[in-house]
């Protein structure tokens, strides 16, 4: 193990897409490696996905209603993410 500053260590995340967003993205999830210069937050994940264009840019455009969870807890764009975290991206919930 090295003692490199956290900001220089790539952050590997498990992403989970649910419901309508799973269909729009065409996948139930993936492994995402945040680059060292990406913000280590949910917002940083969104920015990385949005930059892919296509359905990613459409669904994650500013103003679109998107919800997040980190390790099964409700999260927001400013929520920090760490190596190994599970980050879920989904539409507003409609149960009950």
């Amino acid at each position: 193990m090295t003692n490199a500053p956290a900001s220089l260590v790539a952050t590997t995340l498990r992403l989970v897409y649910l419901a309508r967003l799973r269909e729009a993205f065409g996948t139930a999830g993936e492994t995402l490696v945040l680059a060292a210069d990406d913000s280590p937050t949910v917002g940083g994940v969104v920015a990385a996905l949005h930059a892919r264009g296509g359905a990613w840019a459409v669904e994650l455009a500013p103003g679109r209603a998107v919800r997040f969870a980190v390790n099964h807890r409700v999260a927001h764009r400013d929520t920090a993410v760490q190596d190994g975290d599970e980050v879920a991206v989904f539409p507003p919930v409609t149960g009950g």
């Binding site: 989970v16 099964h72 989904f90 919930v93 149960g95």
Partner: protein
């Protein structure tokens, strides 16, 4: 206190009996049962599929029930939410709350449902004559949760 996510239907009478069992301090039981309607947004609904986020769902429901217990003077609470393929008329969700007096049971039951509608990770996909569609979240549900 217990929360369950299951594909199987539930028997309300049996669930209430189990919730009350052994607690003669209970003087009130309030329940809410959500069911599948055959109409929504002017379209006929032939059925729906309920999806959830395993792992988070149970934790979110348990947290909501724990909040209700802290906030209201209740004896016990139960939440059962079904997932999978459902038909019009089917039961979707049961919230049951026991308390000494009716006021707390009514309040806590409504609180759990209002928060469940905006915080528990479930999604409905409806089958209509013109195809399938995801149900959109309602502004009125957000307002109902914020009321608390």
């Amino acid at each position: 206190m217990s929360v369950r996510v299951q594909t199987a239907d539930f028997d309300v009478a049996r669930e209430i009996a189990a919730l009350r069992a052994g607690d003669t301090g209970v003087g009130a039981v309030a329940t809410f049962i959500g069911t599948v309607r055959d109409m929504n947004d002017s379209a006929r609904i032939d059925g729906m599929t309920l999806e959830h986020y395993p792992g988070m769902t149970e934790a979110a429901l348990a947290e909501i029930v724990a909040e209700a217990r802290a906030r209201f003077d209740i004896r016990d609470a139960l939440v059962i939410h079904r997932v999978g393929v459902l038909a019009p008329g089917d039961q979707i969700v049961l919230v049951a709350v026991t308390s000494a007096h009716r006021g707390m049971a009514f309040e806590a039951c409504r609180y759990v449902m209002d928060l469940l509608k905006t915080r528990a990770p479930f999604w409905k996909k409806e089958r209509t004559p013109s195809g399938e569609r995801w149900v959109e979240a309602r502004e009125s549900d957000e307002k109902a949760a914020q009321r608390w």
